[in-house]
């Protein structure tokens, strides 16, 4: 039908200019509007290769504080790019309002249009719609907050020396994956408020910490460590907040928060930096949990929008062919035994699932009706919107991975148990295996499985001030070798000895201490 219509492409060839970009954007905006995609305003920045590498190196923060690790990142990116191991910047987009997306000047016209469709309408609407982003991030204030963070850290460097700040940041970075309360709704970051209340907070925080530590009796000297003597300390603690029982009263999973509020020896500026790293970790937290969905959603929309551009006669065959080639490369999934295999490609998996939801809505088979009675036959636009808004990777896969996608990708489940001689194929893409494969794949994306579960269980506020953490181990998976450098960093922040105990089903499997202790001291 559309093929018969006279094609009047907006442009031909591969050269672009701002005028063309604006016209394509207007066209994409019109289509996005037609599909009711809800987006932040777009801020599209055209940049050079080097600037793109900069952006990569600073994990996509448009304004970053200075730290050697970003320099290392830059060198790694630059090296890979120069050796041709890595194509740069299919897209880089920042969860902010307006939503900042980068276009590289070397890109062809097709690439620019594709990136606009993918980032400025796909990712953008995901940032605005998905519940994790809505809960955990405040897109309108992130850039201001980053500016605040950069200024504050620069000031600290001036006042306290680059090295002191660097060491502190090293330690915070080691723990930044543990800077989030998973089960508590956070307060969004607001730069204005941060700057305004910062002094206040410094003073307040310090008094809080002082209160906490004031109840400590003199270092243990015989009798005073007896339980009875604790009650005598009640003058300092009339409410009994700190007498008896453990502190904290419940295990704390947000290690950075616990450090910020409770570490006895940190200076106020150090607490503020801990807080900055924690707030940024919170900002990136949703991204770590929605890789498959986010990329899948963006691919789904660039595919849909590009096809519409073609159907409406706004692009020619040449551009479309170039697009299809590029699209195919992005959603390519090498098999497990291919030399190019490097895990499951989130673009491929996410795209396949979203496309399949649409298919199930429009042309359901009997199998689909059985597996997805609520989805089959519904209007696809509402259904994919629902899926995008209310899930994260783990639950999204659990809910929407269909037998067809498992068959198409030929997914199979292997159990790797170091107590067994061989690996065992537990389930494959067949009637008996679908549920097990899907369950396992969903779990594979759960943060709680990907990262060791570690919590603060006790700060010995009446004892030697040591900090004890528990690692809840499952399936006998031990901590990696990096545990010692990390608890060393933790000890630097805490200021007193740190103990980490690995537990599985109530049994202690291993203890780690920093500073390293003699074994006979272990209690």
């Amino acid at each position: 039908m559309s093929a018969t219509r006279k094609r009047k492409p907006i442009a031909t060839g591969s050269d672009w200019n701002f005028n063309l970009l604006e016209r394509f954007d207007a066209e994409l905006a019109r289509l996005a509007d037609e599909y009711r995609l809800d987006t932040y305003p777009n801020q599209i920045e055209v940049i050079t290769t080097e600037q793109m590498m900069d952006a990569y190196a600073s994990v996509g923060m448009p304004v970053g504080y200075h730290h050697w690790s970003f320099g290392k990142q830059f060198l790694a990116v630059e090296g890979a790019y120069k050796r041709g191991q890595m194509g740069l910047a299919y897209e880089l987009v920042i969860n902010s309002d307006p939503c900042i997306a980068y276009l590289m000047e070397e890109n062809t016209l097709m690439m620019q249009v594709l990136v606009m469709a993918h980032a400025c309408y796909g990712h953008n609407s995901f940032f605005k719609g998905n519940y994790l982003f809505r809960t955990w991030t405040d897109a309108s204030s992130i850039v201001d907050y980053l500016v605040f963070a950069r200024k504050y850290i620069a000031q600290c460097e001036e006042r306290h020396g680059v090295q002191a700040v660097e060491q502190l940041l090293d330690a915070c970075h080691a723990l930044q994956n543990y800077g989030v309360d998973r089960y508590k709704r956070p307060s969004p970051i607001s730069a204005e408020e941060e700057a305004k209340r910062q002094d206040e907070r410094e003073a307040y925080l310090q008094t809080q910490v002082n209160m906490l530590w004031r109840t400590i009796p003199e270092p243990l000297t015989g009798e005073s460590s007896l339980p009875g003597s604790l009650h005598n300390a009640n003058d300092d603690d009339p409410l009994g907040l700190h007498s008896g029982g453990l502190y904290p009263s419940e295990p704390q999973e947000n290690l950075l928060y616990f450090i910020e509020k409770n570490a006895p020896l940190l200076a106020p500026w150090q607490r503020e930096i801990v807080r900055i790293v924690r707030k940024l970790a919170q900002y990136f937290y949703p991204q770590r949990q929605t890789q498959v969905m986010n990329e899948g959603w963006a691919c789904f929309w660039h595919y849909t929008l590009m096809n519409r551009l073609y159907d409406d006669g706004n692009v020619d065959e040449g551009l479309m062919l170039e697009f299809l080639q590029s699209h195919a490369a992005v959603i390519n999934q090498p098999a497990f035994d291919s030399p190019h295999f490097s895990g499951i490609n989130p673009y491929a998996l996410g795209f396949a699932i979203f496309m399949d939801i649409k298919r199930i809505c429009e042309n359901p088979t009997d199998e689909d009706r059985e597996w997805f009675p609520d989805v089959a036959g519904t209007p696809w636009r509402e259904t994919v919107e629902f899926a995008m808004r209310n899930f994260k990777d783990e639950s999204f896969i659990q809910q929407f991975l269909s037998p067809k996608v498992m068959r198409d990708h030929k997914l199979f489940l292997v159990v790797d148990d170091d107590q067994l001689e061989a690996l065992e194929v537990a389930a494959i893409h067949n009637e008996q295996g679908y549920r097990q494969v899907r369950e396992a794949l969903a779990t594979q994306y759960a943060l709680s499985v990907r990262e060791p579960n570690i919590q603060v269980v006790e700060a010995a506020i009446r004892g030697d001030r040591s900090l004890t953490l528990h690692h809840v181990q499952d399936n006998r998976r031990p901590l990696g070798r990096s545990v010692y450098p990390v608890i060393r960093h933790l000890q630097q922040l805490w200021g007193f000895p740190v103990h980490l105990v690995s537990m599985e089903e109530g049994q202690v499997t291993r203890r780690f201490h920093w500073p390293v202790e003699d074994d006979n001291h272990a209690s």
Binding site: L413, A427, G480
Partner: protein, 428 residues
């Protein structure tokens, strides 16, 4: 709503600070690699960056992660022949096995052993010359300078037509015209007023003679106004140039080498590296560096670089022949006022017995006063001979500008070079 912003003109090198921080943090590692590279590299090869590897464990940013072991479930794509219940032999080696497609950040810690990156040429040389200072870097003092540069220095009334400043000349002319016409115009105005007053009078009272007189006066004045020249020789202004002495920013480096039979190719390679380091060093500090190669056995000759390093000669050794030639070349082509002069000499220490003291005199009396620096390296594992001892007395005369060291093998060059050119803090 979409805004387009062109960021391309914006600040480049946004990561420069972070990159510097990184290089600073791993200074020790990088320096070690750079020093190895200097010793290893072929001679023509200094003009590029260097790949640096740092053990990944020294550079990792640790986070809590799972180690190998325990039981885990792995879902992978691309099943071909497996069915449920199949047993697969554990892939040997590489912890986790090729099937471990964890889609995430686990067990990467063990996989990569080296973090490799490339220093740019500038950064590489920066590390090579780290802590080194060019001897007597101060530009040649102004008083002895002969090199001048013509710079504009205001305007003058004399000059050649090609340097006329048209705007200034026209402005002068305009001013002169105003000045010259003003009194005439005033007189003319008065005459007009008088004439008018006369003509307004009652015809009976008019004085025809007075009117005629005023009319001729007006005519005369108008002629005078017309006669003021539009432009005059006085108006002309010329751009003036004045000669300003220029600090010399060019250097010439004499490479002097003994090619007598006792110098083997190995000796020459060592010497070459030394010359090369000096050359790179000079090149960093001067806009222009010229090289002059002088080789000698019993007689000295100026040769091309190729010939200098690779052609073979035999015969005895007379060092003074080379020094004489250098002196002649300086006189002829490199006047002291315009060039910073450096001499680097390499030899195995052999010299004709009676020649060494001639060399000493030649150096002290003629060469050293003109030179910025003289570096002598003796490539020999043996005891020093007369040349070394004579040179030692030159060092006494010019401790700041004459340096000598002994080199035994290639690896010594760099340390010796560093020692020769290290920042002179403790000296003097």
């Amino acid at each position: 709503m979409t805004y387009f912003i062109d960021r391309r003109p914006n600040a480049k090198h946004k990561s420069a600070v972070n990159r510097q921080r990184f290089l600073e943090r791993y200074r020790k590692h990088i320096k070690r690699s750079v020093e190895e590279a200097v010793n290893r590299r072929s001679i023509t090869d200094m003009e590029r960056g260097e790949k640096i590897s740092i053990p990944a464990k020294d550079i990792s940013e640790p986070v809590f992660q799972h180690g190998p072991g325990g039981a885990r479930n792995i879902v992978s794509p691309g099943n071909k022949e497996f069915v449920a219940g199949d047993k697969i032999r554990r892939p040997s080696g590489q912890g986790g096995g090729s099937g471990a497609g964890e889609g995430g950040a686990s067990n990467q810690g063990e996989g990569v052993d080296e973090f490799a990156f490339t220093l740019s040429r500038e950064e590489f040389l920066e590390f090579v010359f780290d802590g080194l200072e060019l001897p007597h870097l101060q530009r040649k003092p102004l008083k002895s300078l002969e090199e001048v540069k013509m710079v504009r220095a205001g305007l003058s009334k004399d000059g050649v037509p090609s340097r006329i400043s048209i705007t200034r000349s026209m402005r002068e002319a305009y001013a002169r015209r105003i000045a010259m016409r003003a009194p005439i115009k005033r007189a003319l105005k008065e005459a007009h007023e008088a004439l008018e007053a006369e003509e307004r009078k009652d015809p009976v009272l008019r004085n025809p003679a007075r009117i005629a007189e005023l009319k001729t006066e007006i005519e005369r004045l108008e002629k005078r106004i017309a006669g003021v020249p539009f432009i005059d020789t006085y108006d002309l202004r010329y751009h003036q140039l004045s000669a300003q002495p220029q600090p010399s920013n060019q250097a010439v480096m004499f490479c002097v080498m003994d090619v007598s039979g006792s110098m083997t190719q190995n000796h020459k390679d060592i010497a070459k590296r030394f010359f090369l380091l000096l050359y790179l060093f000079l090149e960093k500090h001067y806009e222009k560096v010229e090289l002059v190669f002088v080789r000698h056995h019993t007689a000295a000759r100026e040769v091309s670089e190729e010939e200098f390093f690779y052609s073979r000669e035999t015969g005895g050794t007379i060092v003074s022949s080379a020094l004489n030639l250098v002196n002649k070349i300086i006189e002829k082509r490199y006047p002291v006022g315009q060039w910073n002069l450096y001499v680097a000499q390499a030899s195995d220490g052999d010299n004709w017995d009676d020649d060494s003291n001639i060399c000493r005199d030649l150096l002290i009396k003629q060469l050293m006063p003109q030179l910025q620096y003289y570096a002598y390296v003796e490539i020999t594992p043996h005891d020093h001979q007369s040349l070394w001892h004579e040179y030692a007395s030159v060092v006494k005369e010019f401790p700041e500008r004459f340096a000598m060291r002994q080199i035994i093998e290639a690896g010594d060059i760099y340390p010796v070079f560093r020692e020769l050119f290290k920042r002179r803090l403790s000296q003097s």
